[in-house]
């Protein structure tokens, strides 16, 4: 279990008091967290709802953290020491606008507890003590875009500044009652572009629409004055100038190409260029510290070297700090910087800087070194795959692993003491210590049971991590170069991870590798990115970017001579492209041409289509020989006025099914319909697309389908009246379990559907078997249209669900458990036996023996069945199960903002001894037995002797 927070958006330091120094951050994962400045640990953390993005964060009264979220409509105050919510206010407005938060430090006469919020076109004054709205002023008329709230020191008024298309507006508003004291505006002929900057409390700076002139605006007392300043006049500058949004005291920073131009705003409103600094990556806001000095930090970066400069804004020549720090190349560029000061022991000022890197990690720099770092990219995992660890080369004996036999014995003796409850607390601590550091768990080699693996995770930052399953440490991490922003690829994002090469037979010396698939944009026709990464070393072996668009990636069941798996990548136009690009791969593929089917789900058009790969592309599309054309086989169209596709689910390709037959209590055999090509699909009536409460039960229908993706045949269509989504489904073996909301009962429900093959049902006849008239040996074909029989049953389930998964084991013998990620961010393991359509109210004795549970209307939730126990996987998104080599055990990885990994044994560990099996007790018993044998032997000898003497 590991806790993360996500990419930091804003940070506020709280270091005034002598106690614990902390920094409060808001992140892109909608988390608010207080971090320890010394070690980077989380003091407290809160994850807001998914659509409750945090806009602003600040500290009020020195003890509350104030956050503005949900597009400026929710203002909350949190207690700084423990994160308890103090109050919450809902701010209504007339139209969406940008959100601004101002927590003035001193309002003179007992007014120092007002928070000013501008959101949704209205200005609100909120009491910071209890969150009451003191007054509200609608400023939304005449299309002004309010960009700043200014509170001049020691006054009772605030300025609200905004720009329209061509004009600048200023309101002077009384803080006491919200009265507009003065409203002034002035046209600017050129028009403005970009944001307004506020270097001092009485002057604003903005770029004009041509981007070549800086305009400084003075607005003291509501009198507006413009002063222009041509940037283009400066020698040798071309390109587009951009005003940096950093708040610098008395200065503005203009970014031209890669250099940063600093201009000082003078008292009379003129601008004066102070300096140009090349290669600046990030500039902090300015920081005011004791005796009115202000400083700001800027970062210049050259490869893995970061230069941090803290400059005084009053005097450009001097700087407080100039440090050069080595940072891991894999962290990429610096995205944000926040600075803070502290008083050194010799009464001088020191500075620390919190920097946010391209890979979403958070670093604290102090005294020229990285004090701590947090890998917060792991809060936004997109996809996960696993890789086996390298095989152990030399045999290592038990003694070597456990250091020596004596310590090993001692450890077990301590364990024995613990089981016999005679252990002292010291001993218990020692036992725990031994368990924790048992080197076996975190070794970098493959183990016999297949518990140790590498989890390879792709994060939203485009960084790939390999996590060790033993202790969750990061084995390697790599910021993929192809997933970094570049000219050809505007907004790269990762999509999926595939196992590219899994050597096991004849390519054992090769390292396994993974294929990372991504796209450059958000449209379906954006060009794709392919990257091949070594799973042991984390090196990027090869990449192809940008390639054709990627609509779908199909891992084919073929591998070439080096165990590279063939992948067919379907582009937006429906052409398939074969990877790897070797003649050998084409040879393998050509043989199977015409046998490769795929399907596509078009949610917008309510269309389900089946395709077959037919022949090579025509010359004009691609002449490389790796391109294949496909043709449509079938399509299922759902009437868009009555049905909307909301969820699909298929079986996991790698799933293993142990047996096809299911024997009933009455010695009857049912044949499971096992096909990899069945798709579960759920649709609802369009009215039921919204949230719960927006539709009446009568207007809401949920339909579920089982579709054969080769022939397009609909195996099952079932309707649930009065039900709606969201639907979470999981497909395994021959059953589907799905979760949805029942509006009539107003509860969540889970349903199970099992499919059985009827065409083979008559195989039960022994006579036929003997006579050889059975069709057991007949080849199973995807083209056949076997008769199927479905059984289904529904149950109530108390919680909302975020994710559903099913355990998977190596051979599929072990019974299955459903893993349900509940709304409370916990993972519940529910035995599949509870979701068995053959459950009846009063099972017969025979059925009971078979393990059928009497039917209940609700699925039981046993607290002990939570695999996360008392932990929470905050912001849970997905649950992944990986089979271990040991049949009884499955590995479970749940990720969201937090990561959670555990081993599960759905039917208990029947094939191995438990971890805490006491070898010492066994040894002791054996020793005692041996002694007893000797004693009795001697005894009997003696007795015999006596007997003989008699």
């Amino acid at each position: 279990h590991q806790q993360y927070i996500g990419k930091v958006k804003k940070a506020v330091f709280q270091t005034q008091k002598a106690g614990r120094k902390r920094v409060v951050v808001s992140t892109e994962e909608n988390a608010i967290a207080a971090l320890d400045l010394r070690h980077g640990e989380i003091f407290w953390r809160l994850i807001l709802g998914v659509n409750d993005a945090i806009d602003e964060i600040d500290i009020a009264l020195g003890k509350y953290v104030v956050t503005l979220s949900s597009g400026g409509s929710v203002l909350r105050a949190w207690n700084l020491p423990d994160g308890q919510m103090i109050w919450e206010s809902f701010l209504l407005g007339s139209k969406p606008s940008r959100s601004l938060l101002l927590t003035p430090t001193n309002f003179g006469a007992n007014k120092d507890n007002v928070i000013l919020v501008y959101s949704n076109g209205c200005l609100h004054a909120v009491s910071s003590i209890d969150g009451d709205i003191l007054w509200k002023k609608d400023l939304a008329q005449n299309g002004m875009d309010v960009q700043h709230l200014v509170h001049p020191e020691e006054s009772d008024t605030i300025y609200t500044l905004g720009i329209g298309d061509t004009q600048f507006e200023a309101y002077v508003i009384s803080v006491r009652n919200g009265e507009v004291l003065k409203h002034s505006n002035m046209e600017f002929p050129g028009g403005f572009s970009g944001d307004l900057l506020l270097p001092t409390s009485d002057k604003a700076v903005v770029l004009d629409s041509s981007g070549s002139t800086l305009v400084s605006i003075s607005f003291v007392g509501g009198e507006i004055k413009f002063q222009k300043f041509q940037i283009s006049d400066l020698q040798g500058y071309s390109g587009v100038a951009v005003l940096l949004p950093s708040k610098l005291a008395g200065m503005v920073a203009v970014k031209i190409d890669r250099s940063l131009l600093f201009a000082k705003v003078k008292a009379e409103g003129t601008l004066e260029v102070v300096d140009t600094v090349p290669g600046v990556e990030a500039v902090s806001d300015s920081l005011t510290f004791a005796d009115g000095q202000t400083a700001f930090g800027l970062i210049q970066q050259d490869g893995g070297k970061i230069q941090l400069t803290v400059k005084s804004s009053n005097d450009w020549k001097s700087h407080f700090l100039k440090e050069s720090i080595e940072v891991d190349q894999q962290r990429g560029l610096v995205h944000k910087i926040f600075i803070n000061n502290y008083v050194r022991t010799d009464r001088t000022y020191g500075f620390r800087a919190l920097i946010v890197m391209e890979d979403h990690s958070l670093l604290l720099l102090q005294q020229g070194a990285v004090v701590w770092n947090r890998e917060d990219a792991l809060a936004s995992i997109i996809d996960v795959t696993t890789s086996e660890l390298p095989v152990q080369k030399d045999g290592v004996s038990v003694a070597k692993v456990e250091h020596n036999l004596f310590e090993w014995l001692k450890g077990h003796l301590l364990k024995l003491k613990a089981t016999l409850m005679i252990a002292t607390p010291d001993d218990v601590a020692a036992v725990l210590q031994i368990r924790l550091q048992s080197a076996e768990k975190s070794k970098m080699t493959r183990d016999h049971n297949g518990f140790r693996k590498l989890l390879i995770v792709l994060t939203r930052a485009g960084k790939l991590f390999a996590l060790h399953t033993g202790d969750g440490r990061i084995v390697w991490s790599r910021l993929l170069t192809t997933f970094r922003k570049s000219g050809t690829c505007e907004s790269p994002r990762g999509l999926k991870l595939y196992q590219w090469q899994v050597p096991h037979h004849h390519a054992l010396d090769e390292n396994p590798s993974v294929l990372v698939v991504g796209t450059c944009g958000h449209n379906s026709d954006a060009s794709g990115i392919l990257s091949f990464v070594d799973a042991y070393k984390g090196e990027e072996l090869n990449y192809l970017a940008p390639t054709r668009s990627i609509a779908q990636v199909i891992p084919l069941p073929f591998t070439d001579s080096t165990e590279q798996r063939l992948h067919l990548i379907i582009d937006a136009e429906g052409y398939g492209h074969l990877y790897p690009r070797t003649p050998e791969a084409v040879d393998i593929f050509q043989k199977e041409l015409g046998n490769i089917y795929w399907y596509s789900v078009d949610i917008n058009n309510n269309l389900l289509k089946g395709h077959v790969v037919k022949k090579n592309c025509k010359e004009e599309i691609a002449d490389d020989g790796y391109c294949f054309e496909s043709s449509d086989l079938w399509s299922v169209v759902f009437p868009s006025d009555s049905e909307k596709i909301i969820a699909t689910s298929t079986r996991i390709l790698s799933e293993v099914v142990h047996t096809q037959a299911k024997v009933n209590a009455d010695q009857d055999v049912l044949y499971k319909y096992i096909s990899k090509n069945v798709l579960f699909l759920a649709t609802v009536t369009p009215k039921a697309m919204g949230n719960i409460g927006s539709v009446t039960p009568d207007d809401s229908w949920l339909y579920v389908y089982l579709v054969d993706t080769i022939t397009g045949r609909v195996l099952l269509r079932m309707s649930h009246h009065g039900c709606q989504g969201p639907v979470h489904a999981v497909f395994s073996e021959n059953w589907v379990v799905y979760h949805y909301f029942n509006l009539r009962a107003h509860r969540y429900e889970m349903s199970v559907v099992e499919i059985y093959d009827q065409s083979r049902a008559d195989n039960k006849d022994v006579l036929k078997l003997v006579l050889g008239k059975h069709n057991l040996s007949a080849p199973v074909s995807s083209y056949a249209r076997p008769e199927v029989m479905t059984k289904s049953q529904s149950y109530f389930f108390s919680h909302s669900v975020k994710a559903v998964a099913v355990t998977s084991t190596a051979k599929g013998i072990t019974s299955k458990q459903l893993l349900i990620g509940t709304i409370g961010d916990q993972v519940l393991a529910l035995d599949k036996r509870f979701l068995d359509p053959r459950r009846t109210l009063n099972p017969t004795q025979a059925e009971k023996e078979e393990g059928i549970i009497p039917l209940t209307d609700t699925l039981p939730i046993m607290p002990q069945a939570y695999v996360t126990h008392a932990l929470k996987v905050e912001g849970l998104r997905s649950i992944i199960t990986i089979p271990a080599k040991l049949e009884s055990t499955t590995l479970v990885f749940a990720h969201g903002v937090d990561l959670f990994f555990t081993r599960l044994a759905p039917s208990k560990t029947y094939d191995s001894l438990t971890d805490d099996f006491n070898y010492a007790l066994l040894l002791l018993t054996i020793v005692a037995l041996v002694i007893a044998i000797f004693v009795t032997w001697i005894w009997s000898e003696k007795k015999e002797l006596q007997e003989k003497w008699r």
């Binding site: 998914v50 423990d82 994160g83 209504l92 909301f741 909302s800 607290p863 126990h869 008392a870 005692a928």
Partner: protein, 196 residues
Amino acid sequence: MAVRAIFLLQFFLSTIFSGKVDGYTVTGRVRIPGFSLKGSGYSAKASNVKVILNGGQIVTFLRPNGYFSFHNVSAGTHLIEVTAIGYFFSPVRVDVSARNPGMVQAALTENRRSLIELVLEPLSEEQYYELKEPVTIMSLVKSPIGMMFGFMLFVMFVMPKLAENVDPEEIKRTQEEIMRGQGSLSSLLPGAQSSN
């Protein structure tokens, strides 16, 4: 006796007429008296309690006095869930009436109890860890090792005693019988001997 938590959920409704947004505010209260969790190692802070509307549409937190509110809720039937580590809360069905604002009806979905009285019956506490059974003499004896030990002791001490009870003459006779290969196994047993 374990302290059982009592959850009180109280619902109020107030309507916001100002602005163009015609939403309602649902205010309620979660009360968990005596956040005292004995022996459960998790911190049950009020800040860890989340109140969720409609499976994640709005997520809110508790104030120190246990009150929470959802703003801008449309009229209709909604579902409120409370998540708190260590407690099981039943989802609550809330009907927000459009016709007569100010009316709100709430009912537990688990047992269909209506919450007109604004008082909710105690729901269960959750114990996530199975209690480790204390080691007793019986459990030791019952374990395979214990049984091995027990049998060994039985052989060591009880068997000789049993053998002593038997007349040496009879042993001799039995031995002879065995020698002759006619002795049955049952005749070796002392019980069988005594019945002769």
